[in-house]
Structure formats: C-alpha cells, structure tokens
Amino acid sequence: MSRPIVIKNANLYGDTVASLLIENGVITKVADTIETPDDAVVVEADGLVVLPGLVDLHTHLREPGREDAETIETGSRAAARGGWTAVHAMANTNPVADTAGVVEQVYSRGQEIGLIDVYPVGAVTIGLKGEHLSEMGAMASSKARVRLFSDDGVCVYDPVIMRRALEYVKTFDGAVVQHAQDLRLTEGAQMHEGEVSAELGLAGWPAVAEESIVARDALLAEHVGSRVHVQHLSTAGSVEIIRWAKERGIKVTAEATPHHLLLTDESARTYDPLFKVNPPLRTQADVDALRTAVADGTIDIIATDHAPHASEDKDCEWAAASFGMLGLETALGVIQKVLVDTGAATWRDVARLMSEAPARIGQVDHLHGRPIAEGEPANLTLVDPKAAWTVTPEALASRASNTPYGGIELPGRAVATFLRGVPTHLDAQLEGAFA
C-alpha cells in the first residue's frame, strides 16, 4: 500500500484551482480543500497546471535492434520526464514489430519497467516492405492488444495494399496510421523543396509528395469506410486536404509534431543534420497553417515522432545522416511556446491534443486521457509553465542526444508525472516531499 498523495491548490487544465487526493493509484477526491491524511505526501502545487497524463501516438523506442540509440527503458524515462504516461511505439525496429511475438515482447518490457505504458504499433506489411500484409489479427488479439498499424518510416505506398489494410483493420476496429510520402517523388530527397533547397543544393522534397498520399488515403478511407490516421502533417496543402476530408465526413484524423510547429527549412542553412527529419521542416507559411489547424481542430493531436539516433548517424554529412529528432522531453515546452504562450490554445486544449484525443485514436482511452475526476486512474502530469529551462542535449534521459533544441530556452516543463498514482518523474523541487 503506497502512501496517499495530496496535490494542493493545483490548477486543473489551467482553468480550475482545486486539490486532489490520490489513493491506491486512483483519484479519490477533487475539492477546494482536502483534509490531509496523516501519512500523506503533500505536493504544494500552487501555480502548477495539472493535465491528464500525456499520451504520445508516435514514438520510436528503437528496441529491439538499435539499443545503442534508445531502449524501452531510456525511452520510458525520457517520456516520464516529458510528462507522458503512455506512448505508442512504432514498428520499425529490428526485428520489425510485425508479429505477435515482437509486439508482446515490447509491451511486456514496457510494463516491466513501469514508468509508462508502452503500446506497440504493429507493422502494416511484413518487414515494412509494403508487399504483404502482416498478421494484424494476431497482433490485435495478443497480450499487446494492438489497434494501430503503421509502416512508419516508410509509406504504405502501393494503393492496393493500402486499400486492403484499411479494409482489414475493420475486423478489430483498428486504424491504419500512415506516413504519407510518395516514394518516387522523394528519391534521394534531403529537405523541403523550395528556395532554401535550391540555394543549398540539397535535393528537394516537394510538398506534393506528402499531399498526394494524404489525398489518396482520405479517398481510400472514404471508399472502404475505414479509419485512417495521418502522421506528422507538415504542409499547408495537407491541412487543406484534411479539412476537406473531415467536412466530407471521412474518418480521418491527423497529427502534427512540435518541431513542425516551431522550426522551418531555414534551419538547414547550418547543414546540421540535427534538423534533418522526415517529413522535412517546411516553410513559415506551412508552420502557420499547421498552428491554425491545431487551433481550429483540423489537426487532432500533437505527437512527438521521437526518433533517437546514435551520434554517428548525425555527426556526418547532411545527405548521409539519418532522419529524425528527439522529442519526448521537449514536446510540452515547445507546445507551450508555440500554442499556449501565443494564445492559440489553452491548457485545456493541450489536454485534448496531447492526452485525450491521442488516447481515443489509440484506443487506450479506458486507461489514459481520462478526466481529472474522482474515481479516475491517477495518470497525471504537473506542468510548471514558469519553469523556463535551456535544453542541454547530453542532460536528456534518452540514450541519444539528437535534439534540435540544444541551447534553446523553453518556457515550461513537466515537474511531476504520475502513472496510476506512482510518481515516475519528480523535479528536484518536489523530490523532497516523497523522500
């Protein structure tokens, strides 16, 4: 039996001041004042925003296969420190998560570590090769209870395979999660195709390579009446297509990453591969369109696309470097900077964008993304919106350090994370209370 926890005078969703009592992993009381039980841990939460524990729909944990870049353990710690209580682990591991065996292994390892719930995403096709559907049914009915399927890292390019996958996942009410990238239009592509790529002599990655697949998949989803989730939307055109598809009643959801909401292709001028990511950083006009789409609900969620890479895969020529950047520990700070502090969204919106909606899309909303209310599991994130910090790549919990935010100041951060009432991350100032 763990000690009860009283979180005093917290700001629920950033708009309601109340205190919480947590007992045995459950929120047992929400009230203006709570009588503190004798053995309780008291967290003085004045000025702290309480959100439902964050849920990432797009994380690369690299285990099995690239434990030199990240492990489920280091990734879990990074997630907890970033305020996450659940992440969906992408399938592009080695071996690929295309069988019940691999997804169960990943799921169990996550539970064993216990810092977050790790929900494996299954591969759509065997080996991510885009040729044969993987045994999605077996993964769905496995202990890992997989509901999302993605070949992320590569696009499910063949329209016939995509159609079949969309149809097939209806068997277990799953969704296909698409990395929208026309492979032919992006052969050798290095960065967004535009004025900066023209000048830098880096092969261009046209916006249309994403938009054409987003449009195709929306139409396919409509045609077969299935659910598609589009990952990391990066262009203004993709936003237009999603908006159109939703108006049309197509069951499509979409995500944006913190980096696509903050950074632009101008970063490539440094030729620093830390800014090399798939899809590429786009123009300011795209960033603005994405922010608007997040604010008006066209984009459903924020997802990190946390992609750790070993230093040798980033300390090299731009063209030779791997795509991807860390995101778990910096996401909340970046989102506060670009959405909350700019007035584009409230903390209540952040709760929806980073917890409730992703939990619903990932079909883990019986456990995560729950209301902060009596009787609900105590999966909670305490945010200090005034705790500005400067990102130090080496100080991050990830095994890798490929963050594009090194040296940049973010306005706030998660100071405590609770998974079923157990603190999985405590800022130094709060550690004392639990000692």
Binding site: A198, E199, G201, L202, G204, A319
Partner: protein, 314 residues
C-alpha cells in the same frame, strides 16, 4: 578571410581583392622560376571525398608554387557507403597540423560542416561540395571574363549566359552570386527539368532555349556546363542527347550569332558533340584552355589570402 565556402557571402571588395591578387599571381607564373616562398612552413591538405584529378592538380600546383607543404588525402566513401566520417577525418587533419584544408565532397554542405564543426582550426577552402558551391571555379571564370572583357575593373555591363544542368550544378550556383556581385548580368539557360524549384530569389534571368537567349540578350560570355549523361536515364531530365544538343548545344551556327568580342567558356571536362561542338570548343573565341591556367592563379590567390596574415587574427 577565414574560409572560402560560398560565393554568396563574398562582398564585391573581397571578390575584387581575390581577382587582383590572382592577377599578380598570374604574372609570377610567366617567369622562369614560378615558385614563390610565400607559404613556406604552411601545410595545405587536399581532402578529396570525390575524385577530381583536375581540381586536385590545380590546387596542388597552386599550393606548391607558394611553397606550402601539400598532403593529398583521398577519403573513401560515397553517398552510398559512408566510409570514414567527416568528423574523424577532420580530427586527423587537425592532428597533422593542417593550416588549410581544401575539401571536395559529394555532399552539399560538407565544407560548411568542416569549417563550423569545431573540429579544425585551419581554414577551409571549398573545392566543390555536392550540388552546392564551387567558389574557386567561379572565381576563375570571373577572372577569365574580366581579363578578356573588363581588364582591371568590375563586370558592370557584362552579360554572361550559363547553359545546361543548373539544378545539379555547383558551378552555376557559385557563378550566379559571384558574377552578379561583380556587376554582371547572368542569364541561365536550361530545360525546366534542370532548373531548381525555388530559383526565384536568384539574381538572374532564366530562359529555356539557347536560341531564345541568343535572340534576347547581347551575350558577352557564354558558359556551357557539362551534361551528365546519367541524368538522361531513370526518370530522365531530358529525352535524349540529340534533343539536348538541338536545343541547348553550342554549334558553329550559334557561335556565329554571338557578338565578335564574346568568349566561350566551359568548366571541363567537355562532352564534345553534346553540349558543345568541336568547332565551338576549338574556335578562337574559346578560352577553355586558358581557364585551366587561370585556375592555378586564382587558387594561389585564395590560398594566399586565407593563409597569409596574422595567425592571431585567424
């Protein structure tokens, strides 16, 4: 000057300074004893990640004629096989005490990374990085144009047409910025498939046939770029060599449409019969062979300006 990475951030003063210095260097190369003691004790490393015997020999001659010690470092690896990392190579060169690193690389930006990675103390001289920049090539082009059309001055009033694969050309990128900085007007002539998307901010005009360029502009210098035959296969940037020659090739007829004073240039190596006919290549207007000699003088100037001067100031 700390590094020479791109012509885009070269001021007119700096560019003219390099060209003036190159003029003095060229004068020394007409003497019996062409070797100068200027850079004695300095070490110049030719770091080539991409084969280019011509460029390497030009830099080697430049460094040796200034009495620098030259180390040729041929690094294996390509975009397909990564090979030794840029960082490890840089650290090795640092340990060797390289005062200047002349780098040729298949990857755009490699020279910039080498200069700004914090791995090296020496100066970095970009000898061609991917499809980005090749500053000394454009400086030698400017030097050649200036010598023939504007001795001692800038290139105000000079029109230069650059014909060919602009998309993949570091020579075109370097020349567009340098020549316009020097006051010239630049016209790019290329099929739309070989013009980069996002070219709008470049300070130049773009036309899509050589005839149109000859009709529209009074061209003083015509620069033919090398056509990579491999660009015709796999998704084809243009349908056939024949069609390319017909629309973009410089033959005798087109040569005769140029003003009398106009010069014909090519960075080499040429595909005779494809982008340039033998008649044009060997005509008296062709300064192609002279470009090679000017290359040594320009590279001597660049090395001098990078390496001479206070060590503390570096």
């Amino acid at each position: 000057m700390r590094h020479l990475l791109t012509t885009k951030d070269l001021s007119k003063t700096d560019a003219l300074r390099i060209l003036d210095t190159a003029t003095q260097m060229a004068a020394t190369q007409e003497r019996e004893v062409r070797k100068l003691p200027t850079l004695r004790g300095k070490t110049v490393v030719n770091l080539f990640f991409e084969d280019s015997t011509r460029t390497r020999i030009s830099f080697e001659a430049a460094a040796k004629r200034l009495s620098a010690d030259v180390i040729n470092f041929s690094a294996k690896g390509s975009s397909v096989s990564k090979g030794e990392s840029l960082k490890d190579t840089a650290l090795t060169l640092q340990a060797m005490g390289a005062d200047a690193v002349v780098v040729r690389h298949w990857a755009s930006g490699a020279a910039y990374q080498l200069a700004h990675g914090g791995w090296l103390h020496g100066s970095v001289l970009n000898a061609g990085d991917g499809t980005h920049q090749h500053p000394t090539q454009s400086l030698l082009d400017a030097f050649t144009i200036r010598k023939h059309l504007a001795p001692g001055g800038d290139l105000e009033g000079v029109t230069v047409a650059i014909v060919g694969d602009v998309l993949h050309s570091r020579v075109a990128r370097s020349n567009v910025y340098l020549l316009t900085t020097l006051g010239a007007k630049v016209v790019l002539v290329a099929p739309p498939t070989l013009v980069p998307v996002g070219i709008e901010p470049w300070p130049c005009d773009v036309v899509h046939t050589l005839d149109q360029a000859l009709d529209t502009y009074e061209i003083d210098a015509l620069m033919m770029l090398r056509v990579q035959r491999e660009r015709m296969t796999g998704g084809g940037f243009f349908p056939s060599p024949n069609e390319y020659s017909r629309i973009f090739g410089l033959d005798g007829d087109r040569l005769r449409r140029l003003p009398d004073h106009a010069i014909v240039m090519h960075p080499g190596p040429m595909n005779r019969g494809l982008e340039i006919s033998a008649e044009a290549a060997d005509s008296p207007r062709s300064v192609i062979v002279e470009q090679v000699a000017n290359g040594v003088a320009v590279r001597m100037a660049a090395l001098y300006l990078l390496l001479a001067g206070e060590e503390a100031a570096q």
